[in-house]
Every structure is written in structure tokens, then in C-alpha cells.
Amino acid sequence: MSKQPVFDQISQKIWDYLNHELSENETIEFEKQLQSSTYLRQQLLESEQILKSMGRWENQPAPDWDPQTFYPRPTKIRWTNWLSLGMATAALVFSLMPYIHINELGLVIGPPQEYVSKVDFKHQLEDFGWQQSLAVSERIDQLKTDQSINNRELVSSILTYSETRRRSDLLQMANWVSQEKELNTAQQRQIVTWVQNEQRQDNSQLKALWTQVVNQNNEVSNQ
């Protein structure tokens, strides 16, 4: 959907007519419509009034100001500028000459360095490789030794810990057995004592009963 304001088709026609934007045929057609429509004539009159109002603007003189002072001078790049640019570039290249080298590798830009031939470089590279592999193998051996020591220490500490723990457990067990044994002995003593007491009571009761029976028998025999 268009966001532009929709305005009256008649109105647009009037403005086109007033701005001489209509073709010859359109103008003739519009003027015919004007003759027959009061509304159109009224609209045209109002539109003309607006345009006339706009046309009554009286230009005012610009205030005094100095266009020289407020900004620097614009300049085109002249051949002298190109010359100075070229000279500056040449000076820059000249000053960088000690840092520019051409050898088997091509153009090299950097601080001056001792030239190394390709063969020497290959030997240096091989030496470097050997040194690296030696250093790596030494490092691996060292790591293995360290690991072995660590393992031994670990096993030793585990075993030490187990033995101590085991001793502690046995001692605890022995104490428990001893305590239990003492407890049982005391309980057994109490039971024996109780049984003995009970037997004594039973014996005394039996004796009393026996005496009573004997007495009764004696009485019976006496009678």
C-alpha cells in the first residue's frame, strides 16, 4: 500500500493546468470542463490565489558577510603537487634502501641480515630438526621417570594406609571381643548366683516340708 497521500484527481488536474504540465489536448479538454463546471472554476480560482500569493515574495538582500575569511582556499592538484609527491616517494624509497634486499627468495623488505644460502639453510634446518627431536625424546624420558616415581609413591602410600587401617581395625575388634567377654562373664556369674539362691530356697523349703512330714508322722504314731 502506497504511503504517499492520495489527493483529489481534480485538484491535481487544476495544478497541472496552472503549471502548464498538461498536454495541448488535455488543456483543451480541461478548459471545456471549466466552462461547464462552477465547482471547477471556483477551485481553479482558489488555486490561482495560492500561486499568486507565492508569487508576491519580495527578495530581501543577503546580510553582509565575508566569504573570504571563513574557509581556506580550495585548490586543484597541480603538476607541482604531483612533482612534490614523486620527490617525496623517491626520498622515502631512498631512505628505505638499506632495508630492501633481493636474494634467492625474491624481494625482501626488512632490517639488514646476513645472507644464508639455500644449502646452508637446509643444513641449519636439519640441525634444528635433530635438536628438536633430541629435546623431545629427553623430555619424554624425563616424563616417564617422573611418572614411574609418582606411581611408586602412590602405591606405597596406598599400602601404608591399608596396613595402618588394618591394625586399627584388629585392635578395635580385640577390644570389642574383650568387652563382650567381660560382659558375658558378669552375666553368667549373676545367673549362677541366682540359680544357687533359688536352689538354696528350694532346699530350705524341702527341709521345712520334710520336718513337717516327719512331725506329722510322729504325731500319728504317737496317737
Binding site: 489527493f7 495544478w15 495560492i50 507565492m54 530581501q60 538582500p61 546580510p63 571563513f70 582556499r73 585548490t75
Partner: protein
Amino acid sequence: MFKSSDQQLIDKALSGSERAWCKLVRRYQNEIYNHAYRMTGSSSDASDLMQEIFLAIFRNLPGFRGDAKFRTWIYRIASNRSIDYLRKKKPEIADFELDSLSDGLLLSDNLHQWQQNKIILNLLSLIPDEQRVVIELKFFQQFTFVEIASQLGISVNTAKTRMYSALDRLKKLAGDDHVQAACL
């Protein structure tokens, strides 16, 4: 007296001639000032805007290739600068400083001119900036719709729509009593 063409003055200005640059400014400063005046509605803002426009012209002058007329090129810059200026100054622009008109006109006892300009500024203040700039370029600078569209970076139809919408709005507002009273 021999009058240098715009292109001659531009070439000289680009070669470093301050005199040529000043001539170029003097040649267009009145119409640019009045353009700025109608766009802003205030003489002080118009003065500032005019200087901004000439600064932009000055900075872009090396890029002027002569493909279009210099005046068309100037107004492309002026229109865009005006819209930017109005966006920046929007709160203050809401009320056009119409009293400042008296500075230039009442002193010359030309009350009729003052009234006419006041009416126009009042009417222009009633329409949006985008429409006002089209009215400005069409009625006051007499550019074609194709040129206006090119200057504002919009289509010809959009330029037409903006102008006719603005004129319709002005026509309706001019019929309102309170607007008439404000205009007079």
C-alpha cells in the same frame, strides 16, 4: 562590462583565486539567502543556513564536473542542507520568527512588501519540510519536476505528489479563518 561565466569563476576559485570565489558567492548569495529564508522562516537562521550552504558548495567545488548547470548543482546542495538544517533545528523552527522581517523591510517603509512576505512565510510554515522544499524549488526557483526529483533524490511522481499535496493543504488552510487571521 565583461562578465565571467560560472565555469570561469569556478576554475579560478579552484586555482586559488579568492576574488573569483567571492564573485561566485556574491552572484548567488541573494537567491540562496532568500531560499534559506523561505525554508527557515527566520532571518538569523537564514543567514546561518546560507553560510552552511556556501561552505558545502566550497567543499564540494572540486567535485563539480559541469555535467549539470552550476545553479542546478548549487540548489541540489542547498535543498539537502536546508532539510538537514531544519531537522537539526526543528524545535525552534516550529514558530517562524516573522518579526525579524521588520529588520529589512519596515525600515524602508515598505509595509506592503513586509505583509506579503509575512503571508508567504506563514503559509510555508504550515507545510512539512519535504513539501516546502519542493514548493521552493518549483515556484521560487522554477526548476522542472525532473530537475527537482534529481536534486532531492526522489522520483518525479513523488516530487509532484509532494507539491500538489502541499498546495492542496495550503488551499484548504487559506480558507480557514484562523489561518487568514495569522496571515494578515
